[in-house]
Symmetry: C2
């Protein structure tokens, strides 16, 4: 089944917010095996909404409209559906009671504007919205099902999962509707190098499809197979996955939801080790990534963000003569910081970053970033030279530090050039 | 002039990457005073690209197409423009030489596939791409100007600024083309409360327009005026800005690019103070936000991410009897952490966070987060109860900690309820 999305919101067109709704819906449609060929964004303008929805209804088996169903008068998605379907507007007394009950339960007086949310085009079913007051709508128009969902992601996404996707799966009746998707995660090769290594697989396979994308230095390869049942789809994915893993070798660090943080957690738990970080230029980003893992307190001890030289000396016990002889942005200082973090924070493993993130150079050229990793088996450091502005340098260094930690825990170390950290070669287009 | 965007990329439809290009282009068009009514996303499919561009050309004075101009064979934007314009494809020997020169300068052999980038539809001008190898294109089709730009943001955005926007400004010849925009930043009120306070301004004004948006707990109000010159536009904005500031009162903390980090920097510099943080549940996010400011080393000393209780005791010198009597998730512990951070890191101001971010509760209900701020003038703490998952709780707490730091530095303190941190009231739609 072809599904199309129409995202409503003047703030999207003005660039005030990023259209993550379209992204997340696209991801859910892909995972469920639906085809998604068009996304349209229009503002809170009835005429353009009617035009966009009419066009989508003519092309797709289902249309998902987000936004414009709130209580304010610029919310006109209900009116747009009514116009496209050519039906009357109805009013749900039952939903009015429900709305009044909710507000009373909070001890608050309901603004009367909320009653707009009890209106619906004739023939539409209301879709429950457990996280908010605006119900969704489902309405058959011509040969298409049209869904109207809230624009607030925390309300819309659960409604997609609970109502829209299951309904469409029932309706589509596609015997090959089972989809198995595999994400293979790698680091340390440029996007163009991955393209060279895997290019023939793109042409050779269409089930599973092979796609790859780069983000913050990681390259992810996604294999997606469709089949009549899970076993068949999985058996289509397996040989291609094996081939991808063979070609990318030790650059592969995980699959599916095994993020680098999760992989590090697994490696630490296998050894019974704890970890601590000492950060300068990354300013806490490595600690923030590690502590994004629920349950990190079992293996993450803490971090010292040593921005000022005094802090490196006092809390991390970096010897003054090392700093004087080698400088702050040096492998010797990074090594002392990693060892100092492990000691000061009572951890087995210490990860340290020092560098010159810009915009003004500190001792060395802007983009010079050094990572050191100390484990009970030894300490190593690595100097990188990264292009880009301060924020990109910090982000890529954070990923590099986590990846070098993984390699150190696995007893290996990365030998590529800095360019491969970027995932971008000289001729990269998109 | 009406400008429309067509973003090309199957990875956008599959939800593999977020369409930030459309957002950034929308922002630039709004800032330049162009109307932007439609955004369309289609995959790397010639037929659908031709259809989308044809439709856009029929509605707009200019169409900006991003993506699909790279060297690989799924890059077919040139072919789409050729088809829409109904012209022949030409080949630039000059650009071929330029491409060969660039690759030779890097000492690398150019894959012949790169020569696709020397092709152009008859009548098109090439637009220089200083950051990459795929040149942009500008072609008049019917009454519209069509631009093809790379999909890589780091290449596309400078081309928008240097070539596309200035060209369109010259072409539009709109006497009211000067736009003055003002962003007023606030924190501590819910989105629905801001809506109540400012609702009549939305209806009353259309020049400047009044819009607001919530992100990570901050509410931003944007005023945008169009006029024949900057002075006139600014004079339209000024009285509305004064009214907004009057109504939102001390919740306003800055305007335009004065982020909360910048505001804190200014307050610290005015006092000649330095700052340090002690973070538990936020795991380094506060330090990372502060160090995102270039030049933060002048006033940011460092941070102790004290995840384990031992670290709170050892590096931050939180007294064991405080932890035993009050617990780790307590205002007393937060106060001791803030004071300990200032002392251990040699700073005048200490900011501390402790709490129960989930998914498992730690001592207190999940979402219980405590912020303490110590300054030379005193120490205060505040307990909040935040809904949402671990990542949202961490993000909102980080913003709250920065805002409470600002209030403490200004000698005031926040008295609202936790709900206002979310920017979301019970009836919020979008």
């Amino acid at each position: 089944m072809i599904v199309e999305t129409v995202t409503i919101g003047t703030e999207l067109l003005l660039g005030q917010i990023v259209n993550t709704n379209a992204t997340r819906i696209g991801e859910k449609l892909a995972d469920a095996g639906f085809d998604h060929y068009h996304q349209t964004v229009v503002g809170d303008n009835l005429e353009r909404m009617v035009d966009a929805i009419t066009r989508a209804v003519g092309r797709a088996g289902a249309v998902i409209v987000t936004g414009g169903i709130g209580p304010t008068k610029d919310d006109v998605t209900r009116q747009a559906l009514q116009a496209v379907a050519g039906v009357e507007m109805r009013y749900s007394e039952a939903y009015e009671s429900e709305l009044r009950r909710r507000w009373e339960a909070r001890g608050r007086v309901m603004p009367e504007s909320n009653l707009r949310q009890a209106e619906y085009p004739e023939g539409a079913e209301m879709i429950p919205n457990p996280k908010g007051s605006a119900p969704g709508l489902r309405l058959g128009i011509g040969d298409a099902w049209v869904f109207a969902l809230p624009g607030v992601p925390a309300e819309m996404l659960p409604m997609m999962d609970a109502e829209v996707i299951p309904f469409l799966q029932d309706m589509s009746g596609d015997p090959a509707a089972v989809v198995v998707s595999r994400l293979i995660r790698s680091w340390g090769l440029s996007e163009s190098r991955v393209g060279e290594l895997l290019g023939d697989l793109f042409d050779q396979y269409d089930n599973p499809t092979v796609a790859f994308l780069a983000s913050s230095g990681e390259i992810k390869v996604r294999l997606t197979a469709k089949a009549v049942d899970v076993e068949t789809a999985a058996s289509l994915v397996a040989p291609v996955e094996a081939e991808v893993r063979l070609r990318l070798g030790s650059h592969v660090f995980g699959s599916d939801d095994e993020t680098i943080e999760r992989v590090i957690e697994g490696l630490l738990e296998a050894e019974g080790w704890t970890i601590a970080t000492a950060e300068s230029a990354t300013g806490g980003l490595i600690a923030a990534r590690l502590t994004s893992v629920p349950g990190a307190s079992a293996w993450f001890r803490g971090s010292v963000v040593a921005y000022h030289e005094d802090v490196k000396r006092s809390l991390l016990a970096v010897p003054g003569d090392v700093i004087e002889a080698e400088g702050i942005v040096s492998e010797a200082t990074a090594v002392a910081m990693a060892q100092g973090a492990a000691k000061a924070l009572g951890a087995d493993v210490g990860v340290a970053v020092t560098g010159s993130a810009g915009p003004e150079p500190q001792e060395r050229e802007v983009g010079t970033m050094i990572v050191a990793v100390h484990t009970p088996e030894g300490t190593r450091a690595r100097t990188m030279l990264l292009p880009g502005d301060r924020e990109r340098v910090r982000t890529y260094t954070t990923t590099a530090a986590l990846q070098l930690t993984r390699l150190a825990l696995q007893g290996s170390w990365w030998k590529g050039d800095s360019q491969s950290l970027w995932g971008v070669g000289p001729g990269a287009g998109r």
